[in-house]
């Protein structure tokens, strides 16, 4: 590959193979287990995205999507081994370049994860988005202190979404409820368990939301904070992030999205700006009286999915005995 005897860029790069690790067998010669697992992982297959969007399609449209769109669009963003360990993956055609020269790096979390997750997750986590530092980062924890290798490389099983994966971190993996020192905290946890996600109370502020789909016109990203129902668990109140899609996104491929309204545009989101104390942990009134930051009908985006309406949560006032 290439011509090592050439001192000129053009000559040195002649016949070079741009992404040798796109073929997992290359890395799999030595890293057999990892490459085997990775071939089925969500990072590699992007099945999570496919599964999420396909619920908006009819059966016929789903086939068209798989044949015409997925491979050339969504799947083109999949990460090969080298995308994380040598250079940044190209996102929307832009690559941030090599991580550390041409060297393989085991991990360099500041770069490796942030290359792809630097739009919202990483800056929320490190406080660069202005909402304050996530308490875990404040304690010196970085991505892989919670997200284990099995979560990144896969565990050898195929999953449709990240919510199904076994290695996905959960707050309760480390923080057990019931043993709280303060009676008020213990009561708050017991009263809200199963009804409000941990993020619902412990997310400390604004996080990035997207208005208008990338495929539509006038795409913008704005800070916000929204509480509403989790579409997957409609009894649970949680933080929602707006990830809209417009009906004509796939029209060029002949897909009208007959099931457009099956999926909400506001997704339950594990926000990475967790804090021990927030305005909601400090005062019951913020939710139960002011109903602050709750998604309302008036806030819903225009021409959005009808499923968005199901996420509106009507908070009841507290019954004080």
């Amino acid at each position: 590959m290439g011509n090592e005897n050439s001192n000129e860029k053009e000559g040195a790069h002649k016949d070079i193979r741009k992404k040798p690790s796109a073929n997992l067998e290359v890395c799999g010669k030595c890293h057999t287990e990892i490459a085997g697992n990775y071939s089925k992982s969500l990072h590699y297959t992007v099945h999570g995205f496919q599964h999420s969007i396909s619920r908006r399609f009819s059966k016929k449209e789903e086939t068209v999507f798989k044949n015409k769109v997925f491979g050339s669009s969504c799947k083109s963003c999949h990460a090969s081994c080298g995308d994380c360990h040598v250079l940044s993956p190209s996102v929307e055609g832009i690559s941030a370049g090599l991580i550390e020269g041409h060297k393989f790096v085991k991990k360099d979390e500041a770069k490796t994860c942030a290359f792809c997750h630097g739009g919202r997750v990483y800056p929320e986590f490190t406080g660069e988005y202005g909402g304050g530092v996530d308490v875990h980062y404040q304690k010196g924890m970085t991505c892989m202190d919670c997200h284990k290798k099995e979560g990144l490389h896969g565990d050898g099983n195929m999953y449709l979404t990240k919510n199904e994966t076994k290695a996905r971190p959960k707050c309760k993996d480390c923080h057990k409820t019931g043993g709280e020192a303060k009676a008020t905290v213990k009561l708050a946890h017991s009263k809200h368990e199963g009804k409000v996600s941990c993020y619902g109370c412990h997310s400390q502020g604004e996080y990035r939301n997207c208005y208008n789909c990338h495929m539509g016109k006038g795409s913008t990203s704005k800070p916000g904070f929204m509480l509403g129902k989790d579409q997957r668990h409609e009894k649970t109140l949680t933080t929602l992030r707006l990830i809209p899609i417009v009906k004509d996104t796939f029209l060029k491929a002949g897909i009208k999205m007959e099931g457009f309204d099956n999926v909400a545009d506001y997704k339950a989101t594990p926000v990475h700006n967790i804090k021990k104390r927030t305005e909601r942990t400090r005062s019951c009134d913020v939710c139960h009286v002011e109903k602050k930051d709750f998604l309302t009908r008036e806030m819903l985006i225009e021409k959005g999915s009808k499923a968005n309406e199901n996420l509106i949560f009507d908070m009841k006032a507290l019954k004080i005995k």
């Binding site: 304050g132 010196g140 502020g205 104390r277």
Partner: protein
């Protein structure tokens, strides 16, 4: 007269400058040098706070320092950026860092960008606001601390008696103590590395697996324990020629190091070529 007035003016300026310092900072200058920090780094009262990003701290940091990123000390309130965090959060932040009222806190940040540079002062201000009196900023930041020593020409004094070759081993087969540090089944010839041509060990070699020198937690055993393990294999004559080898010369060195540096076997040597070179030569003897 002009000079007297000038001196008086300077004195007043100096007094104005030092009076606040005397009131607020009794035990440390507000800006400390890397030399000062190096001299005070083990003082239990000194708390060094590294305010850089967690990844940078993990990669390398000043000894004894703790990491509390600059963004932890500020928050956004409504639309107003960089506001003081709430009193209870600040109380926890300082308490969790192990800072006490009588601590001497040194803030070490990066000076890479102006915002990084001013963040140290912002944290200092916040700590003083919280009632911590002795707060200092590390002048020049972590970069100055990390400044690598300048390269200096090194004149080696090679001790070529420590490194022996195949001919030397061949000539000393019957005179030296040859020690094979590989596991017993490699020594016996039941196993071998693929890159080693013939199984077995150098003729007359004795076996002292290098792993026997270590405890289960990968620490080296005590000098007494190591000498008890070595004595049956290499004897107690500290002047004897002892040649350590393994497969490629890597694993031979822990055995050599313990014999030479710990126990004073002055003629302990390493056969660098080891089994890989020895076994590839059909003219040298091996035992099984």
């Amino acid at each position: 007269m002009k000079n007297v007035l000038k001196k008086c003016f300077m004195l007043v300026i100096l007094m104005l400058f030092f009076i606040p310092l005397a009131a607020f900072s009794a035990n440390v200058e507000p800006v400390v040098s890397t030399d000062w920090l190096a001299n005070n780094i083990s003082n239990p009262k000194v708390v060094i706070i590294d305010i850089r990003k967690a990844e940078d701290y993990k990669e390398n940091h000043i000894q004894n320092s703790i990491n509390i990123v600059a963004k932890s000390w500020i928050t956004k309130k409504k639309d107003i950026l960089n506001e003081m965090i709430s009193d209870d959060d600040l109380k926890d932040l300082i308490g969790d860092a192990g800072i006490r009222q009588d601590s001497v806190v040194v803030i070490a940040g990066t000076v890479a960008a102006p915002i990084d540079l001013v963040s140290a002062a912002r944290v200092a201000w916040t700590l003083i606001y919280a009632g911590v009196k002795d707060v200092a900023i590390l002048n020049g930041g972590v970069e100055k601390w990390e400044k690598k020593p300048k390269a200096k020409p090194f004149t080696p004094k090679f001790d070529k008696t420590l490194l022996v070759n195949k001919d030397y081993v061949m000539k000393n087969l019957d005179k030296a103590i040859i020690v094979d540090v590989r596991p017993a089944d490699f020594y016996s010839g039941d196993k071998k590395q693929t890159f080693v041509e013939r199984a077995g060990h150098i003729k007359n070699a004795k076996n002292l697996p290098w792993g026997t020198l270590l405890n289960e937690d990968k620490t080296y055993k005590s000098k007494d324990e190591i000498e008890k393990i070595m004595a049956p294999v290499i004897g107690t004559d500290k002047t004897k020629t002892i040649i350590f080898y393994c497969d490629t010369g890597m694993f031979a060195t822990p055995g050599w190091f313990m014999a030479y540096s710990l126990s004073g076997y002055a003629n302990a040597k390493v056969y660098d070529g080891s089994a890989q070179e020895w076994a590839a030569d059909p003219n040298v003897p091996m035992d099984k």
